[in-house]
Symmetry: C2
Subunit: 531 residues, 2 copies
Amino acid sequence: MRLFIFLSFFFVYTFAIRPGPVIQASKGAVWPKPQQQEVSETYYLIRPHSFTFEAPVNIGCPSFLDDALTRYWTIIATSITSKLEETPEANFWELDDNFLGYLETLTITLLGECPNENILPELHDNENYTLTVDSEGAFLESETIWGVLRGLETFSQLIYAEQDTLMINTTKIVDFPRFPHRGFLLDTSRHFEPVRIILQMLDAMAYNKLNVFHWHITDDHSFPYKSRTYHELSDKGAYHPVSGVYEQSDVMKIIEYARVRGIRVIPEFDTPGHTRSWGVAHPELLTSCFTDNVANGELGPMDPTKDTTYDFINNLFTEIVDVFPDSYFHIGGDEVEFDCWKSNPDVSNFMKQNNFSTYEQLESYFIQHVVDILDNLSSKYLVWEEVFVNGVELPNSTVVHVWKDNGLSTLNNVIKAGKYGLYSSCWYLSVLHSGSDWDAFYKCEPGLLLHTEEEKKLLLGGEACMWGEYVNEFSVIPRVWPRASAVAERLWSDENVVDISDAQIRLEEHACRMNKRGIAAQPPNGPGMCF
Amino acid sequence: MRLFIFLSFFFVYTFAIRPGPVIQASKGAVWPKPQQQEVSETYYLIRPHSFTFEAPVNIGCPSFLDDALTRYWTIIATSITSKLEETPEANFWELDDNFLGYLETLTITLLGECPNENILPELHDNENYTLTVDSEGAFLESETIWGVLRGLETFSQLIYAEQDTLMINTTKIVDFPRFPHRGFLLDTSRHFEPVRIILQMLDAMAYNKLNVFHWHITDDHSFPYKSRTYHELSDKGAYHPVSGVYEQSDVMKIIEYARVRGIRVIPEFDTPGHTRSWGVAHPELLTSCFTDNVANGELGPMDPTKDTTYDFINNLFTEIVDVFPDSYFHIGGDEVEFDCWKSNPDVSNFMKQNNFSTYEQLESYFIQHVVDILDNLSSKYLVWEEVFVNGVELPNSTVVHVWKDNGLSTLNNVIKAGKYGLYSSCWYLSVLHSGSDWDAFYKCEPGLLLHTEEEKKLLLGGEACMWGEYVNEFSVIPRVWPRASAVAERLWSDENVVDISDAQIRLEEHACRMNKRGIAAQPPNGPGMCF
């Protein structure tokens, strides 16, 4: 039967040099791998011109789900490859016992309540769904619209092109994410990334069931966020006051584009370090550095000794909490360099007055103020691991973002202390070796040191991080995809899904799938071509 | 004077964290650096609407130079940045003593003979030119049209945008290449690269004064060249017989696009290894591999024992020499795996009959036949270093392409043996570390072990090599550029041009210049933004 060739999920690759692609892509395999899936050899054909989603009236709430149906209809209808084999074998299915007929409908049932039109994705949302394609037809069920979105993505991935025909195998899928926080960090400070690139990233995130866009929006080199309160921050601190900024309307567009895809947008305004760009417009926020007790003109981290620093942060963060609707805010707190603080006599005096004997205490003093500001704003927060390690008092809702080497041990300490943990130590997309570079991401297991169910619940998930030093708008998408897909599968699929050979075959298909959908993913596995 | 700020050629970068780009780009600096250049602070403005090239009638020969003038006029006219500073300082030049007026013309003089319309770029072409911008105007002189092309590129790079104005400083340039063979290798077998990508590569090569496109067109994984003689090679051996092949018309287009930019196209049809894709249509060309004296179905390198192998190669290479007009042909000869030959009893018998005691002798026997075929076709050739190391008898016109580690010593041996050497050992673009990864290319000096003028003359230059395992059409351009620019400067500029700090500043500008001209170059130096 030809289908045995098509469904080469378990193709074994030997290292002998063979012509053709080094990894033969799967057909209709789902990425990330569902928690439970049975596939059989019987199949339907799909004719886009007559295929529809059957959604009862209750699926119209919120109405943005209708847009999702249109989106996925388009993806399915355009997934017939334009790179056809020379001569299609006419109607190969006609004498095939496995052919079940034409699938005309996916019936979608929202089991839970009809949500408000303005519903936001949140931490711990239910994203579960079941998807059945059997002799009765195709059925997607979920308690929530988020689960419906995840199920639609899966349904679209089950469909594959064979010659000029779309096919889907019968299958039964019960699926849910392993972790509730599956993130992608993009740094838009080291290089400015145009809005269209961010929207493409959000598309790709949805194709990989990632659900948190961690927007590392500012850093030392530029301040591209155009604030309503302090527009001078980007007027002077962006690379360019017009071409290098995110207007309020851009931010709105990004948040909404993410929301309707079930993706949270968590902004990061890193302090007290990584703030050099703030000081172009507001040098008074930063510490003056001294050489031999004389101010040398350089500026360091934020000045923790002045009340005016906290007033400014309070004003700005009040705006940010209003602009970004997510209940979490990433307040940074990483890599504070103490040299400048050490050099400044006012800082030294301040430490004496407050009986601080270490600069970690001073850093904690600063962060404690920021944390208090956010508590007053009723916003929860994420912090980089240094904040926890340095002993800042944090409420248990805080998420500690672990990023340094030896992260598993730090993560263990975070969770032992009853805080939420988020992991990134092994998922830095800036780390390169061969150019392919996804297998180490795939093999990394964040829960290795966690044993009890309670501990495991405190590990919220992780994030693939794309720091911006060496990527611009031309290189960032192929640098990220499909490498971040490896992280996406680790965070969604069961922890026993660790077979690299199986992953290679599915990722080969998935990278090509992304290409077909307009995402400029690079090749994951070596020689090959997408069809 | 404002110009002091503009012309920050020798800006010293300190490692303190400063807002803004980590490297401040130069303005109007030339890449690769000219052999001799004096720049002064006086400048002209250029108004694209009235600027023209003044070329005496003799410049119309060949007429493709007119196309080059149009191309460069467009580049210049569109090089005003669209990312303007907010409020241009109105007419900043009006009270500036350094302002010389408006430059209306570049006068071009072809000192040598008017060449034939069909002239081809060749090894050892004269590419010298002089370019003068002084109070009398702007003047480009060259003996050859190739020198005129290089000078036009330089002229276009001297012009920079300041606010909404184009400027050019007075300067005197005497320029010529250090090496005659400055190449870029692209592997179109591991991944197929669309013709539009190759044309973009040729554009970028011209912007970097590279003059040889080494087209590694076939390899184990696919055979994308559609042969007139043996079209089944690509019908069966390409990734796809339609979407994954270069038609004859594509090849013609690429050769012509290169030619009018002064770029030679050298095809490589690698044998006897790296030929697995040939065997899909013609398995009889390859050696059958055996396990325990039984053919195991695997195929190895070409079968060196059969006359029919050489007949086939003769027929194909007769076509290739006709299709590709360059007088050189790269015949490969690298990485021949002996295991399959060793396993095959016919090969063993053949070796006994011919008194071969080593497989290197057998390889030499094969290559000797290929070399004889090319000698009969009056084509010169390049070979990978193994061919030389294994002792194949080669005429002194042969170019030995050194690529392995310890290449300087091999290169020295090549040249001591009186052969031409070409260097690539340190210029593999697939080697990655930080993502930026051009400084090691820049620091690599191929002539280190060569002392006499005679030895130095035998070193023809080098090539930056982009092997195709991990790059597709979406990632290959940012992977190559501006990293190959580092190689381009090493091969064009004086060997004393080794200052990385100076190079960083100019490369920052050059990468942005390429972006502006439509080349999706990645950032070379870390945080920054192009204007």
